[in-house]
């Protein structure tokens, strides 16, 4: 593996190896000194051209737990605001002696452009509404910890699928690991022409919930791309929100995930968000270990042998 850009082309074996590696790193993170020297001397740049709190901090923490040095970039304070192009910015930072870049960008394919221009591994930290593959890894890790395996699990991803890189990444990772994925949302938030995706789609949340093991809720906004996508938050919550009533109708061992940040009271009720079967904080914790696994896989192999 040269880069980590998308879940679409990952095979089951690769994902499982990464998750196994992440289990090991999760143990490291519980030690009194939660650090290993695996990437000592390496420099990792986090290039976030779009605002992010959790993903940027999570990569930063993962790099440091592997003893890598980190440099970071944020557009507000960079030469980008002086009109420098993405390519020149990337080449400049590469020239400082960076060994790997994590990139987040609002445009689809930005990480692929960097992979074309540079000679170092690129990790996609989210490109537009396209892919966010480390998010999918941490989600699968969270589900695997709870159920042992994703094989045969019924997973519903609910909400704004159309504009969600989280959904796109998870669909392919979850299906590759053997889960049956259903996409649920209003017609305006379901992507067109998903014939090539390993999913079924529906607008009837209550119809599918009784069989579901994992409900994956997505953050919603009333407006996308300048167009109105549903009437109001209240109407959305009524039809697609994980209310207390819906939560109580789930199978007893079913769990709820959310990539954050949450709109409490819209896609998830206040009480459900704080329930033990809502694994939202586990997802965040697992983010560090899974990102360690990805960084180690791309940079650490030569030292590991």
């Amino acid at each position: 593996m040269k880069h980590f850009l998308t879940t679409e082309d990952l095979d089951r074996n690769t994902i499982e190896e990464l998750l196994d590696e992440a289990d090991g790193f999760a143990e490291v993170l519980t030690r009194p000194i939660p650090k290993v020297p695996a990437l000592r001397g390496k420099t990792i740049a986090t290039m976030f051209f779009e605002p992010s709190t959790r993903t940027k901090m999570s990569f930063d923490k993962a790099a440091k737990a592997l003893s890598a040095d980190t440099v970071s970039f944020s557009p507000g304070t960079s030469a980008l605001s002086k009109g420098e192009s993405l390519k020149d910015t990337a080449l400049t930072i590469r020239a400082m002696g960076v060994d790997l870049m994590v990139v987040r960008h609002k445009a689809t394919g930005a990480a692929w452009r960097l992979a074309d221009w540079l000679d170092i591994p690129i990790v996609n930290g989210g490109d537009g509404a396209h892919q966010h593959p480390t998010q999918a890894l941490l989600d699968c890790q969270t589900i695997r910890q709870r159920f042992g395996s994703l094989e045969g699990l019924e997973i519903a991803i609910v909400g704004d699928i159309k504009h969600s890189r989280v959904a796109r990444s998870n669909v392919f990772a979850m299906a590759t690991l053997g889960a049956k994925v259903t996409l649920v949302g209003p017609p305006t938030l379901l992507p067109v022409d998903v014939g090539s995706w390993p999913v079924t789609t529906t607008a009837d949340l209550d119809g599918v919930l009784p069989n579901i093991d994992v409900v994956y809720l997505l953050r919603v906004q009333t407006e996308r791309g300048g167009a109105s996508v549903f009437p109001s938050f209240a109407e959305y919550a009524e039809r697609f929100g994980m209310s207390d009533r819906r939560f109580s109708a789930l199978k007893p061992d079913a769990v709820v995930l959310h990539p954050g940040p949450m709109n409490r009271g819209v896609e998830i009720s206040h009480d459900v968000a704080d329930d033990d079967r809502a694994l939202i904080l586990e997802q965040v914790s697992n983010g560090v270990a899974t990102r360690m696994a990805v960084l180690f896989r791309l940079l650490g192999r030569e030292h590991h042998a």
């Binding site: 679409e8 192009s85 993405l86 390519k87 960008h105 609002k106 445009a107 689809t108 394919g109 930005a110 692929w112 452009r113 221009w117 490109d127 537009g128 509404a129 396209h130 892919q131 159309k162 504009h163 969600s164 890189r165 796109r168 992507p191 067109v192 022409d193 998903v194 014939g195 090539s196 995706w197 791309g225 300048g226 167009a227």
Partner: protein, 420 residues
């Protein structure tokens, strides 16, 4: 003594296709026939097509105002290399061509360069703002025959109606960039399976169709000659076909890139595939080829749209729309669309010249006419490696193509020859 004889080619003459020779003396065709006497030079043209130089009714030469992308000199070189004797420059320059002196500037720069006859189109709306009419009479008196806000669709239906009525009275053409601005506002590519995978905002095919359907209604109402630019959808071809069958004064063009590529090319997120209207479904591409072949689509028009490397070396969504086309349109028409010689010259020269009302272009070869012609090798397989354009935004570079322009001549002057 003739200056040059093109020996034994397949020649499109005013009497139809002939296997014969063409003699050139000075700026004229001296004779067409089999026994033409002495000449300073002769070129053997076995297997070659010879006919009127090509005419492009949709070219972005970028001058004035965007000379870092292209100028009239570099664009003229690209046009000559592509077999063209005449191009119609689009008016979305800076300033936009909305008055006569600007159109005359473009034409005069073309004359200075001297490689291809450059005609200017003119804006429909003043400054391309879509609000009020541009200076139609002034533009007309400066030689403008095609009126368009290309790059933008005229959204205001009342303005478009008025422009059509006015241009109809002059005898000109209203040429529409037919993409609904609301349905396409947020989009970057065709809305379909590829946009869904990429999570990119899509532009549905209906964005084109709605505008074409509205405009056909207005064209029937006003009687204007209405021209649809760069058709991209099968349903758009069908709208044009049925309007033609009803007798509406409508013509249509297709770009080389819509004939060659479809939306699956965008999966690479290579910004060179970002065009407007977007590359659509494989079935649309097939319908465009059929429409071109059966004559529903009148012309291949390049929509040659140079953009500098720094503008295209960005994420897809941030790149400007357009790709180069002048140098490879003939190859696409032959190798991809499969046009035979008669259709090739009809769609690449004769009909485009007629749409743009270019008197001295697009005429089957005849003795005593200007020697403005092209020699094409329809079976040469080649891979373009360079371009005469200032820009390089062309997926054709490095692609294997069939059919190649061998020589271009403008009024007896060789403006391009392979190997030079």
């Amino acid at each position: 003594m003739h200056d040059l004889i093109l020996l034994n080619g397949s020649v499109l003459t005013s009497e139809g296709l002939r296997r014969t020779s063409v003699a050139i003396a000075g700026d004229r065709i001296a004779a067409i026939g089999d026994d033409l006497g002495d000449s300073k030079e002769a070129i053997t043209c076995d297997g070659m097509w010879i006919g009127p130089a090509l005419v492009d009714i949709h070219t972005h030469l970028r001058e004035p105002g965007h000379e870092w992308k292209e100028d009239i000199a570099s664009g003229s070189r690209a046009a000559a290399a592509g077999g063209y004797g005449a191009v119609v420059a689009m008016p979305n320059t800076d300033p936009p061509i909305d008055a006569g002196h600007l159109a005359r500037f473009v034409r005069d720069r073309g004359i200075d360069v001297g490689l291809v006859d450059v005609f200017s189109s003119g804006c429909i709306s003043l400054a391309r703002r879509g609000a009020t009419m541009s200076h139609f009479d002034d533009l007309w008196n400066s030689g403008v025959r095609i009126f368009t806000d290309d790059g933008d669709s005229v959204k205001d239906t009342a303005l478009l109606r008025a422009a059509m009525e006015y241009v109809a009275s002059l005898g000109g053409v209203v040429s529409q960039h037919a993409v609904d601005p609301d349905l396409s506002a947020a989009g970057f590519m065709h809305e379909g399976s590829v946009s869904s995978r990429l999570g990119m905002y899509g532009i549905p095919s209906q964005a084109d169709d709605i505008t074409i359907a509205r405009d056909i209604t207005l064209a029937e109402m006003t009687g204007v000659h209405y021209h649809v630019q760069h058709l991209s959808t099968a349903s758009g071809v069908e709208l044009v076909r049925s309007a033609k069958n009803r007798g509406v004064r409508i013509t249509a063009e297709v770009s080389p890139h819509h004939l060659t590529f479809d939306h699956t090319a965008v999966a690479s997120t290579d910004a060179n595939f970002k065009v407007m209207p977007p590359l659509r479904e494989p079935t649309d591409r097939t319908a465009l080829i059929e429409g071109l072949s059966d004559g529903t689509i009148d012309a291949v028009a390049t929509d040659h749209a140079p953009h500098a490397a720094l503008e295209k070396e960005v994420p897809f969504e941030e790149a400007p729309n357009g790709m180069l086309g002048l140098e490879w349109a003939a190859s696409v028409a032959i190798g991809v669309a499969g046009l035979d010689q008669e259709r090739f010259f009809d769609r690449m020269s004769i009909r485009p010249a007629s749409i743009a009302a270019l008197e001295h272009h697009g005429r089957p070869l005849a003795a005593r006419d200007h020697a403005t012609l092209v020699v094409v090798n329809p079976s040469e397989v080649w891979k373009p490696a360079t371009t005469a354009s200032k820009s390089r935004n062309a997926p054709y570079l490095g692609m294997q193509m069939t059919g190649r322009v061998h020589m271009t001549m403008l009024r007896g002057e060789v403006t391009h020859v392979v190997g030079s």
